[in-house]
Amino acid sequence: MGWLSKLFNLDTTVPSPAEETRRRTSSSGRSLDQSSKKDACNRLKLVLMHDRTKLSSETLEMMREELVEVISRYVEIDRDALELNLESDSNTIALVANIQLARREGDELRKNDLKSKKQIMKKDGDKKTVTPATS
C-alpha cells in the first residue's frame, strides 16, 4: 500500500461499531473538541423540566412504583419495564409512561406496547407581555 492509499484510507475509514462504542464509552482522556453548547442546552432543559414541575427523580420513581401497583391490578405487566419520563417540546411538558404488558403464552398480540401520554402541565408560551411602559 502506497502512502497515497494510506492517506486515503485514513481519511475515509469509517470506525467499526465496536470501535465507535469504545470511543464513546472511554471516559478518560477525552478531548473537549466537540461543541459543548448542545450538552449544556440538553442538560439544562432536563434540569429545568424537573425544576418547573417540581418533580425530582425520586418522586418520579415513587410515582412509577405506584403506577405499577395500580395497573397490575387490572393487567399483568412487566414490572421493571415500566418507564416514566418527563418530555418536553417547545412550551409543553409531558409526563410520558411506557408500559409493557407481560407476554402470555398463546397470545396472538405480539406488539403489546401500551403507550399512554398524559399532559400534566402546560407552560404558557406568551407570558405577560413586556413592553417598556413610557414615562
Binding site: A40, L44, V47, L48, A133, S135
Partner: protein, 273 residues
C-alpha cells in the same frame, strides 16, 4: 420628569456573581446621563457593594436601615453621585443582617422615593429568600441578569417563576451578561437564542465580556460613562430601551471577535512574559 410617579425596577438574578450590581450601577447611571432623576437602592444588607461600584463608599453617612428605623430622614441618607446631580444612592447597611429589612418598610421607602424620581433602581441580593422578596416587593418591573452558563440560567428560571407569580409585576426582561461572541460562534457557549428559548422571556440587552469593566470598577466609575467601550455602549443602549426607546442590538460579532483575538494575544503574551 413631571409630577408622575417614578418607575421602580428591580435588578435580580438568583445566582450571585453574574453582574447584578454592575448592571444596577450602569443602568441607573445610563438613565441619569439621559437626564432622568434616578435613585438606586442597595438591598444587599450586610454585603453592600453598589457604593463601591459607584465610587461613593466614602460619602455614606446613613443607610437604608437607618431610614427604616427612624434615625434619619430619607433625603439625609441619599448619597449624591460625584458627577451626576440627578443620581443618588440609598446604601445598604453593612453591619446588620438581612432580617433588619422588612417588606412593608421597603414598600414605604420606595413609595416615598418614587414621588421625586423618574426611576428607582433596586439592586437585589443573590438568592430567592427574604432578601429577594424585600427587593422585589415595591417593583412593578424587573430586569433579570443572566450569564450564558447553565447554573445562571437555571437560577434565572426560578426567579422568573417567582416574578411571574407576582401580580404587581407588569414587565420583566432579560439582560445577558458576559457574552463571548467568539465562543458562541464556535458553539462552545450557549448563544442568545438558546438562552431566550430556554427561559422564554423577552430580551432587554446583551453585554459583552469586557476587561474594561474590571478597570471601571477599580476606579468606581460605571463603564456606561466610558465612550469607547463596547460594554459601555451596551449599557447605554439598555438604558435607552428601559426609557422606552427602540434601539437595535449591538453587533458583537465583527468588532468583538477581532478584539478578542487581540486581547487574547496580549493576554497570553503577558502571562508568559
Amino acid at each position: 420628569m413631571t409630577n408622575k410617579e417614578g418607575r421602580v425596577i428591580v435588578i435580580t438574578s438568583g445566582k450571585g456573581g453574574v453582574g447584578k450590581t454592575t448592571a444596577s450601577a450602569n443602568i441607573a447611571t445610563g438613565l441619569a446621563r439621559m437626564g432622568y432623576k434616578v435613585a438606586m437602592i442597595d438591598t444587599d444588607i450586610g454585603l453592600r457593594n453598589l457604593d463601591i461600584l459607584m465610587g461613593l463608599e466614602n460619602r455614606i453617612v446613613y443607610n437604608l436601615i437607618d431610614v427604616i428605623e427612624g434615625r434619619c430622614k430619607l433625603h439625609q441618607a441619599l448619597v449624591k453621585d460625584k458627577r451626576l446631580p440627578n443620581l443618588s444612592l440609598l446604601p445598604a447597611a453593612q453591619t446588620r443582617d438581612k432580617s433588619a429589612l422588612q417588606q412593608d418598610m421597603m414598600l414605604k421607602v420606595c413609595d416615598e422615593l418614587k414621588q421625586d424620581m423618574d426611576f428607582v433602581i433596586v439592586d437585589s441580593p443573590a438568592g430567592i429568600e427574604q432578601g429577594f422578596q424585600n427587593a422585589v416587593v415595591a417593583a412593578s418591573e424587573a430586569i433579570v441578569v443572566v450569564t450564558p452558563e447553565m447554573s445562571s440560567v437555571r437560577d434565572a428560571d426560578r426567579i422568573i417563576g417567582l416574578l411571574e407569580a407576582k401580580e404587581e409585576m407588569i414587565n420583566y426582561k432579560l439582560v445577558i451578561n458576559r457574552v463571548r461572541p467568539g465562543m458562541m460562534k464556535s458553539n462552545d457557549m450557549m448563544d442568545i437564542d438558546d438562552v431566550l428559548d430556554i427561559l422564554s422571556i423577552k430580551l432587554l440587552g446583551i453585554v459583552p465580556e469586557d476587561q474594561d469593566i474590571i478597570i471601571s470598577t477599580n476606579k468606581g466609575e460605571p463603564i456606561v460613562s466610558v465612550d469607547d467601550s463596547l460594554a459601555g455602549q451596551a449599557y447605554r443602549n439598555i438604558a435607552r430601551r428601559v426609557a422606552g426607546e427602540d434601539v437595535p442590538y449591538l453587533d458583537l460579532d465583527a468588532p468583538a471577535s477581532w478584539m478578542d483575538k487581540v486581547k487574547d494575544f496580549f493576554g497570553k503574551k503577558s502571562r508568559t512574559a
